[in-house]
Symmetry: C2
Subunit: 376 residues, 2 copies
């Protein structure tokens, strides 16, 4: 939803009722960055080696360098600061062995890119001081000072809600509970569905690069062998057939390689995107749990006021906080949904485009082989 009436203001954000309900306040231009150019660096006179990635934000267009452990540091800060309100997806896995291998570096870079783009797209996260530091520090000194400041940041955990101003009337806690149940259920269902897609995708990948490739190769070999046998017949004028048969055999060998190479072209992106969503969805139970705990606390409030454990004023603050938290969660869910629709629409289009090309390429190759036979 890009219309203005649903935008929130103040602090990191807030929410106003739009068509979809409360939404974050989105910036005019969307932040993004490019993670590229992995370089091997070393420390302690070459005793310690590491890979450094170049991160270039679209705002400054000025690259900064970061190692994996810096991303991990940023991730830790974001979790501390925001995880009560927002699901912060995990970084790509740490890996100790093989981490200087080209294939691994490429894969990690691609995943760090995905993670950073997702963080940049989030109006609350991308606007935070620590995130801005990560993208924009000018030198080692600024980075170190900024790091120390971020590590001492006290606006973490549930305190994050105090920085959000919904600019909307307080919500009745009973309305909130139902919404949370819907969110819980949706994220659980989607988690299952994403895992199903991942499972069948992995299976298909294995079949394409394993038995299917082998089988198409065998078919190719069988045609070529038959052609070789025919060549020994001593019978004249069968060279057209044997040449066409050989070409057919070679075509099936090519198809074997196309089949085996295809998952990297399309299934890879499907699996990567779903893996990202699996990680994201895995954070939902904890985030929603924080909100549910707040509801339980407000429910207890009557009793606590009666036994003089808290004042009426405290109780009102709790209710006001719950309302803010609820708006924040709704804004976050709306953020999630709009991103989900965008991501899956793009993913499916890409996947199907590649699949169409795949089948068309094979049809073309077979047509060419067919053209080598003569009509008798």
């Amino acid at each position: 939803d890009d219309s203005d009436d649903g935008k929130s203001t103040g602090g990191y954000g807030g929410s106003q009722a739009g068509e979809v309900g409360p939404v974050w306040l989105y910036p005019q231009t969307q932040l993004d960055c490019v993670v590229a150019d992995p370089k091997k660096g070393s420390k302690m006179y070459g005793l310690k080696s590491y890979i450094e990635y170049q991160v270039t934000p679209n705002t400054t267009n000025r690259p900064v360098n970061h190692r994996y452990k810096h991303f991990d540091w940023l991730y830790e800060r974001l979790v501390e600061k925001f995880a009560c309100a927002l699901p912060i997806p995990c970084l790509p896995d740490k890996q100790v062995t093989g981490r200087f291998e080209e294939e691994f570096i490429k894969m990690r870079m691609e995943r760090l890119q995905g993670w950073m783009s997702r963080m940049c797209r989030h109006p609350v996260i991308s606007n935070s001081e620590v995130f801005q530091l990560f993208l924009n520090y000018r030198d080692e000194k600024e980075w170190k000072i900024g790091k120390r400041k971020a590590e001492r940041d006290e606006t973490v955990g549930v305190k994050i809600f105090s920085t959000i101003d919904p600019e909307l009337p307080e919500i009745d806690p009973t309305q909130v509970e139902q919404k949370y149940e819907t969110y819980s259920q949706f994220s659980r269902s989607m988690d299952n569905s994403v895992k199903e897609l991942l499972a069948v995708g992995h299976l298909h990948w294995k079949r394409c690069t394993g038995p299917l490739q082998k089988e198409y190769r065998q078919i190719g070999k069988a045609f070529q062998n038959l052609s070789s046998v025919f060549n020994t017949s001593g019978y004249p004028r069968e060279s057209t057939l044997t040449e066409a048969l050989t070409a057919t055999g070679k075509t099936y060998e090519e198809i074997a390689d196309i089949v085996a190479g295809q998952p990297k072209k399309d299934l890879h992106f499907l699996l990567e995107t779903n893996n990202e969503y699996k990680g994201l969805l895995g954070c939902f139970p904890d985030t929603i749990g924080v909100h549910k705990a707040a509801i339980d606390k407000v429910k207890e409030a009557d009793h606590l006021v009666a036994t003089n454990k808290i004042s009426q004023q405290d109780r009102h603050t709790m209710e006001k906080n719950l309302s803010t938290m609820s708006y924040a969660l709704q804004a976050e869910m709306n953020h999630f949904h709009s991103n989900r629709i965008y991501d899956y629409n793009r993913l499916m289009q890409f996947y199907l485009e590649e699949q169409v090309k795949f089948y068309e390429t094979i049809a073309e190759k077979l047509k060419k082989a067919l053209g080598q036979y003569t009509t008798m």
Copy 2:
């Protein structure tokens, strides 16, 4: 080779040297027949049931009826009469259980058709009295008299060579041996190659109708499940995505069925043709064995003349017979080669045409699914 200079004359045939060496004398118009219209008949007041096929030759266009056991009787006659000179391919398997099931009847009819067409194409077999009787008998009486006559036929086994007049100079037995070795080796190699193709074909069939169909269905289900989950989001304006996702899922389910149904469309004919050739090639060792035995006998002839076991005249007859046999085998090999080239050319064209259609159909379906997504 259709030119006249290689044609043989006399008896069932013979041979003259053409471009490819000796060839049978081929008729002006080629005999063929249609095996169709299987009908259940019964005997003994319904106690015994059987299936009767209608066989219509292109010469008379008048259908005759035959049960499987009649075909089997014809096969036995052809083996007795011709197997020394010509490989007579086996009939499709007998089967006791399930022989009234539609699928089985259709399959058997198709194979009887293939066998009959191959027999019709053979100038020596198709010209024989017993084969003509099978196709042309006018009533039960003519059939029964003809049957009895055929069963009493004495021109069987090696005697068949006496009916062949090569009209060509006698060949030197030493030349013959080398040729036979070539034929043996070719038929062995082709037998292996055909068996390889059959093995990989069966494997591919199983994969298409088994794991591959299952996997495409799972992919289809996974997309549809994701669509169902998305539908529960409560987020507005995602119906385009969920409808497109559902369509994609259904498309993959259709692809599953297309993949599983494809072997019947193309692999079936490839396997049937190669099965026929496997049967045919299985007859070669015996047929060639008869010829090799004749060579061995001629080799012994010098010794037999010296020890007065046979006369010089006998020896000359043996050499003349060997020459005739050799021309017959060469004509038969040339017949085999020209049919082989024709059959495999047609087979491969058909197979590739169907394969092209298969991949194009899938590409078209995926393109249609792709068209349902909106570009954001």
